[in-house]
Amino acid sequence: MDFSVFFQPAFSGGGTYLDWVLSGIQWTLLVSILGWVIAFTVGSVLGVLRTTQRVVLRAPATLYVEVFRNVPLLVQMFIWYFVLPEIVPRALGDWMKTQMPMPEFWNAVLCLGFYTASRVAEQVRSGIQSIPRGQTYAGLAMGLTQPQVYRHVLLPMGYRIIIPPLTSEFLTIFKNSSVALTIGVLELTAQARQISEYTFRTFEVFTVATVVYVLITLTVTVAMRALEGKVRVPGYLGPAGR
């Protein structure tokens, strides 16, 4: 094993291969975290809609979840990047093809975000539905409106209950971000592949990439554990604990 390869001048760009790795890490983090912001926001809204009584709200949310959850991520990546510009209104399509800044990056963020949203939606829905119906009755009985019941009663407990499965979705988005390389985002996996092609140090390069992914996921896991401890409700035994 010879890790000195990372300090050699890179094939292009003026830096070392270490700079390529660092740049890859940066894009991996950016794609994943921005994707997660979309996934969490959109997924929360969809998850809430799936628990409402009104069919006009519930049905579209259900359709969304079924479609986005069941089409392979790789296919969705191609659709966002290659197909979408062709099927949106002409002016928007032209803008996406010629003027959109960093189109690979933004399409990857949107793709990953909207795909993961379908999975977050399912977690949010199950969290809300695991709360006994009496809680909703209690909120409504004191005069809260339905949205206020979600805001003050259902979501605060629902989110707490789903922290563990939500953590695993958050971890998955970092791993799934490597799919962005297929549309040309130079994230960590793409950089690793590129460096190994130039240097033939495949083993060293992918060892480093693996270690970096593990470090990222470990950090996320530790952070989410800390969050879970911070918001733990004293004396609460879980929805089945009464």
Binding site: Y137, L140, M142, G143, L144, H152, Y236
Partner: protein
């Protein structure tokens, strides 16, 4: 104060309530009893619109609960409700449970809400527990907090759905004591319970339900003297044995 006129309700094909009619005057305490599944909870939830009904009419303080123009949250905020499983919000401290609706529904300032909350906690003898979470209180304490929470809204009437059924025997009296006191102060109360001692002590009338019907609706003396229906006699003899 509460007028229930010919109310019928179906769950699909199943008729839960069959032409229920009764009236509760201001300051009156009415106990509702009957076998499990007879529709007591359903009826009491219809009174504040937590359950919709298909036929008949319910007026609370002259306002039609099922009316299309009725501001249900506003109406509900004027009627307190206490549940079998307490339904305190587990992620909020005791005092926060008491102030939430005062602030969000009645628009009181947080300071005014806290002052009111503390006064009612004092009344149920739980001031020392104001900063605890519900999960760290006993069942009896939780139910007293739930009663205080409802009273914070200055309700014109109180609904109780089996408030002592989920309690260990040694905690039943601490809750009943609070309810007796309320009754003696002239609160309008509709109480689903099998605590016949409570009924004898403070009820004005007793309603007996069976299979979604109001079978007996009689002044207390008459009910405990000679209930007219065989079904009620049988039921009474069963629950008075314990």
């Amino acid at each position: 104060m509460i007028a229930i006129k010919n109310v019928s309700k179906w769950y699909g094909e199943f008729k839960v309530l069959a032409g229920c009619t009764t009236q509760i005057e201001k300051g009156e305490v009415v106990v509702v009893c009957g076998p499990s599944g007879s529709g007591k909870s359903t009826l009491i939830k219809c009174v504040n619109g937590l359950e919709p009904f298909q036929e008949g009419e319910i007026l609370v303080d002259g306002i039609s609960v099922g009316g299309r123009k009725t501001d249900l949250p506003k109406l509900r905020s004027r009627v307190g409700m206490v549940f079998q499983h307490f339904e305190l919000f587990p992620h909020m401290k005791v005092l926060e449970n008491l102030t939430l609706a005062q602030v969000k529904v009645l628009g009181r300032t947080p300071e005014a809400a806290i002052e009111k909350g503390l006064r009612l906690l004092e009344r149920v003898d739980l001031s020392a527990h104001k900063d605890k979470f519900p999960g760290n209180l006993s069942g009896g304490q939780q139910q007293r907090v739930a009663i205080a929470r409802a009273l914070c809204m200055d309700p014109i009437a109180m609904l109780f759905d089996e408030p002592t059924s989920a309690l260990d025997p040694e905690m039943i009296n601490e809750v009943l004591d609070v309810m007796v006191e309320l009754a003696q102060e002239g609160m309008t109360m509709m109480v689903v319970t099998h605590e016949m001692g409570f009924a004898r002590k403070v009820a004005h009338r007793v309603i007996f339900m069976d299979s979604g019907r109001i079978v007996e609706d009689a002044p207390k003396e008459e009910f405990f003297g000679t209930p007219r229906s065989e079904r009620a006699q049988l039921f009474l003899s069963k629950i008075l044995q314990h």
